[in-house]
Symmetry: C2
Subunit: 84 residues, 2 copies
């Protein structure tokens, strides 16, 4: 079993209106020290061992479904978990 | 300047319908090795140095705005960034 953590973020050049709203909310709550907020997605996948390498499978899942590679970047971390 | 990475995830006991949909989509794309998907939020905050400790400020922001602590857990990582 593997635990895979996937982070999907908007590319630097893409505007993040949701992040701007959160930043403005934080300012109105007196957290004026916050100068930028970017919002992304975080996914935890539990994956059973199979013939094909997990890195390859996860990369393909990201490209095909989990991230929109035109406007988003992704990265992932794979941890081997002890089966319970 | 600090770069703070905030991870907000649904508590274990809370159903994640969005995660179930992604899992089912992955199964229909022949990734049958995926046994669970949980979806959360990932936020990157850029915070200027101020008088109060950044850990304390970020904890408060999470509790008050970024996470719904009734159904979500949060954790964060603080990195000191070189001002540009």
């Amino acid at each position: 079993m593997y635990k895979v953590k996937v982070f999907v973020t908007l590319r630097e050049s893409v505007l993040d209106p949701q992040g701007t709203v959160v930043k403005n909310s934080l300012h109105s709550m007196n957290y004026s020290e916050v100068s930028d907020v970017r919002i992304g997605k975080y996914m935890e996948l539990t994956i059973k061992k199979s013939e094909r390498p997990v890195e390859e499978a996860v990369k393909e899942m990201c490209e095909r479904l989990l991230a929109n590679v035109v406007i988003e970047d992704y990265r992932f971390e794979i941890e081997e978990a002890v089966a319970q």
